[in-house]
């Protein structure tokens, strides 16, 4: 994964949600959902983003696509600053950046036929004739493993796996270069999950897609990703190639996360690094290193000073004082 062209460059990205209160409804504090995130996404790669609920992984994905307003920092897409563009100017880039959601059923109109729903994309973004549009939709459906006759069906007639295929069809319709998959396979049963992962991989090879694959499932992420980013309370704690993260994790949080996954090997002795307590709430942000409240190796320094984001070896970044 070296010498690659970067597609997306993010620097010091912040997304805060204000907490308002009092008579004047002033902002009392901020929930720091994404806090000083810097990273580069290379063309054609799959970058897995992992972390527990509330770590800001979904907000990061949404902010990159302009679905959430950023509070600070810059986003460059193919070298162009897209962070501060108006909605209108952003439309051009939105074609190039798509998203696959966890529950595609929630984003489909239950009274609209699937074919018509997909056709709408082409009405908005292209000037194709009606018959051309229909043709494109039919092609799309077969592309994602559905049948042409599904054109006239309604969302409720599809199973969970098929609905996710529709979500994928919608995402790839305009030949984007970047797709953010936000827990795209998390709601699916394992047998169907394997089908969808395989489909995503096939499409990536065919169309040279770049994926940001957001998931809490570390098994799935290992399977699909080239590089992995680990987040904790809005901060990036570790970034590396899949190999580096899974075989040579440096950050105590990454280690604990990996050791917590139940392995499908019965009788295997558990050697868990147990984390005490829960994720602190993002509105009550810890000082110093955000992980120090649960960290097994925290020192006095960790409580005071925010650790730097350092490159330990080529492409392997970590934010921890004790390494």
């Amino acid at each position: 994964m070296t010498n690659q062209q970067s597609l997306l460059e993010v620097e010091d990205l912040k997304t805060y949600y204000p907490i308002k209160g009092g008579i004047l409804n002033r902002t009392k504090a901020n929930v720091k959902a994404v806090n000083d995130v810097s990273l580069e996404v290379y063309e054609g790669e799959t970058l897995g983003i992992v972390g527990e609920s509330g770590c800001g992984k979904s907000t990061l994905g949404r902010t990159l696509l302009g679905l959430e307003k950023k509070t600070g920092g810059t986003i460059h897409f193919r070298g162009e600053d897209i962070g501060d563009l108006s909605e209108k100017k952003l439309k051009k880039y939105k074609k190039d950046m798509q998203m696959i959601f966890q529950d595609p059923f929630a984003s489909l109109n239950p009274r609209q036929k699937i074919g018509n729903a997909l056709e709408e994309i082409f009405i908005i973004h292209t000037s194709l004739s009606k018959s051309e549009r229909k043709e494109r939709v039919r092609k799309l459906l077969t592309e994602v493993g559905l049948k042409e006759e599904h054109y006239d069906r309604f969302p409720h007639e599809f199973s969970g796996g098929q609905r996710q295929r529709i979500g994928i069809a919608r995402a790839i319709a305009l030949n984007p270069s970047l797709i953010v998959c936000d827990e795209a396979v998390s709601a699916l049963d394992v047998s169907v999950q394997a089908q969808i992962i395989t489909l995503l991989k096939e499409l990536q090879a065919k169309y040279h897609l770049t994926y940001l694959f957001i998931s809490h499932d570390l098994g799935v992420v290992r399977h699909i990703s080239d590089r992995v980013l680990v987040m904790y309370l809005g901060k990036t704690v570790e970034l590396g190639t899949t190999e580096q993260i899974y075989n040579n994790a440096l950050h105590p949080y990454t280690k604990a996360l990996l050791s917590s996954i139940p392995r499908p090997i019965p009788g295997r002795k558990r050697e868990r690094i147990k984390l005490q307590g829960d994720l602190p709430s993002a509105s009550n942000y810890p000082t110093g290193c955000p992980f120090h409240t649960r960290c097994p190796i925290a020192t006095a320094q960790c409580k005071e000073v925010v650790p730097e984001w350092r490159e330990m070896e080529a492409g392997h970044f970590v934010a921890c004082h004790e390494i």
Partner: protein
Amino acid sequence: MEHLLQVENLVIGFRTAKGTSQAVRDVSFSLEEGETLCIVGESGSGKSITSLSLLGLLPENGDIAKGSIRFKGEELVGKKEEALRKLRGNKISMIFQEPMTALNPVFTIGYQLQEPLIIHQNLSKQEARKRSMALLAEVGIPNPKEKLDQYPHELSGGMRQRVMIAMALACEPSLLIADEPTTALDVTIQAQILDLIDDLKEQLGMGVVFVTHDMGVVAEIADKVMVMYAGEVVETGDVKTIFEDPQHPYTKGLLAAVPNVDDETQELSIIPGSMPSVDDEIEGCRFHPRCPFAMDICKQKKPPVMNVSENHSSRCWLQEVNNHDKSTVTS
């Protein structure tokens, strides 16, 4: 010997606008004290319905059409609601997937914890309060005294699940039914909760019926495993056998479809198609349309449960091919 729980030929039907559909078809299993049975399957396999039926908690339109559920030799099917209520939360307890929906948002944690103690054990209010504090400490909740006066929304997901477990264990049940108790939790919290359930099982000697779809969780917690598909039990065995020597093609497929964190070169295998809906009548074996090994007989005749070894059985015609000289047991 008397089993702690014995379920025989359980059939559960649901009345729908289109007629009755069978969600659970002829399920039998047994459980001893101090044992954990995992019921594994994908959505629509009937695993949750099976677990709900044990306590008579089926939805309005669901009925046990046939079969028996015996708890310590006592028949539960057909028992009056009042009699069941005496068992629930007392001798048999249940924990659910989403603790927020199972806890009452307008009562404090303490109030909800004391309720079963006051009803089932006739404790006074003070005694119950003392006992609930001890229970919260037991399930690893810091500052139990303070937590007693808090409301469910003030706690995190992991803490709520701990409260649910404390409630379930309040009367020291002999059977705990857990329906996907860790599915909604993060992995670090899941690890804590699984350890907790396992420790308490040892301490109290309860039997545990644990419903899950996560093969990793099964390997961690189960003694025995029962794999369900489309309302039927397709394979049962002890946990080592199921993972190391699975016989049914569905079990094999399920195991191979899980992405392994420790294996970077793994090729995910795919089970084509998707789970049939409950009212799909399928001729022959219910898995044959998705089975890579389907033979002619699979399309015509429903396979019986066949013994692979003493404690290992599979509902598959391949068994007959594999060991035709062994005796078959029809269900």
